[in-house]
């Protein structure tokens, strides 16, 4: 099943730290958002495999914007 990992804060995408095809686990950091001059870690809510990276560096994000799509077994 496809699930999206979304931005948890408004701000700029500092970086996505996983690549398509990576196996990731729940709570693992998948990206970092810059807001309030602080780097905010975005964790995965699921176990799965990264299917598609949507966000790239310097993208302006709002809460709920999809950052990556993963394929889960859940």
């Amino acid at each position: 099943m496809e699930k999206s990992i979304n931005a948890i804060m408004p701000g700029l995408c500092a970086r996505v730290v996983v690549a398509e095809g990576d196996k990731i686990s729940k709570s693992q950091e998948i990206a970092v958002i810059n807001c309030m001059k602080t780097e905010i870690s975005v964790p995965s809510e699921y176990n799965g495999v990264v299917k598609k990276i949507i966000s790239k560096e310097w993208d302006e994000l709002q809460v709920g914007d999809p950052m990556i799509i993963i394929e889960t077994a859940e």
Binding site: I8, P10, L12, M36, T38, I40, E60
Partner: protein, 327 residues
């Protein structure tokens, strides 16, 4: 006692009016960024309006209560739940030992939630305030934001916490949240004709400014001003840019600092002096709105006001932050 399970993005102990009297030593007042949100939460649980509570910025805060008590949640609606069940905001609710409160991400409006507990948060006062200055690493809980496994102790309430359960606010006492925040302000100290052009000041009061994502408790950065904002071509002995002046004290909280072409609202933990011009000051009664402005999403518009209106607004806010606001 409150055991923190997840500190969220940034959760701080803050009171109001913060740490006054130390601007000359370079120490800003800190204090609740939205003093109306904190004040109303305190009134609901039977505390004085300035008692220390939790300022939850950005959400994801989670904690477990160690005693039976009464709480109130105000501010941005981050969908708070108690033991996974939704709880109402802007009213007093009872909590029991073992209950877990949890906040989601920021709401559709606003950026900060406030959690007040009967008796307040019992952290040591530092220079007359329980507020955290996050950039100075002093005050509040160990001078920092809360993290998992921290334990906060509550103060002793004047009345039985159960006495305040079920308290609600009058409808008109609950602030209206928007994505465009109108801030009443007065020009000065560095304005037209010496520092800014007439056109520049008109722009300041006519334009709607987006809040930049780099905004935090020290400074709220707004989108850039055009070059014709300035009356001068350079800062003279103050420096090469027309925003430069000889170092002076900043009238914080609420001064609009012009740093290069970037207008910056200096607020809670902001700097107390520097070498940039300040074009206007937001009135005290409207400071709370800045704290609910969401970086990267919301907008700010300045509305010209005068000292009489500012004084009246402050008197009205004092009335609002009292038991007269309760149903």
């Amino acid at each position: 006692m409150l055991q923190i399970k997840n500190g969220g993005i940034e959760t701080l102990v803050e009171d109001w009016p913060g740490r006054l009297g130390y601007l000359g030593k370079g120490m800003s007042a800190s204090g609740a960024f939205d003093n109306v949100g904190l004040g109303l939460a305190n009134i609901l649980v039977g505390n004085s309006f300035g008692e220390a509570g939790l300022e939850i910025t950005g959400g994801f805060f989670e904690a477990q209560f160690g005693i039976d008590t009464a709480i109130a949640v105000t501010g941005s609606d981050m969908k708070p739940v108690l033991n996974e069940k939704a709880i109402p905001m802007w009213e007093t609710i009872s909590v029991s030992k073992g209950d877990i409160i949890k906040f989601s991400h920021i709401g559709e409006f606003g950026f900060r939630s406030y959690l007040a507990v009967a008796g307040g948060i019992n952290v040591p006062e530092y220079l007359g305030s329980k507020s955290t200055c996050i950039f100075g690493s002093y005050g509040g809980f160990k001078g920092r934001k809360l993290a998992a496994k921290d334990e906060l102790v509550f103060g002793k309430p004047d009345d039985e916490p159960s006495d305040s359960t079920g308290r609600k606010l009058k409808k008109e006492a609950v602030p209206t949240y928007k994505r465009e925040w109108i801030l009443r302000a007065m020009p000065g100290a560095n304005t037209s004709p010496d520092y800014a052009s007439e056109k520049g000041m008109d722009h300041l009061f006519e334009h709607t400014f987006k809040i930049q994502h780099t905004s935090n408790r020290s400074a709220y950065r707004l989108e850039e001003l055009p070059d014709n904002f300035f009356a001068r071509s350079d800062g003279g002995v103050g420096g090469s840019h027309p925003s430069n002046i000889i170092d002076h004290a900043y009238a914080i909280r609420g001064a609009l600092n012009i740093c290069g072409n970037t207008p910056i609202l200096l607020i809670a933990d902001g700097p107390t002096l520097g070498g940039y011009m300040c074009a206007l000051n937001v009135i005290n009664a409207d400071l709370w709105k800045i704290g609910q402005g969401t970086p990267g999403r919301d907008f700010i518009k300045f509305k010209l006001t005068n000292q009489e209106e500012a004084t009246e607004a402050r008197i009205n806010q004092k009335k609002l932050l009292s038991e007269a606001s309760l149903l």
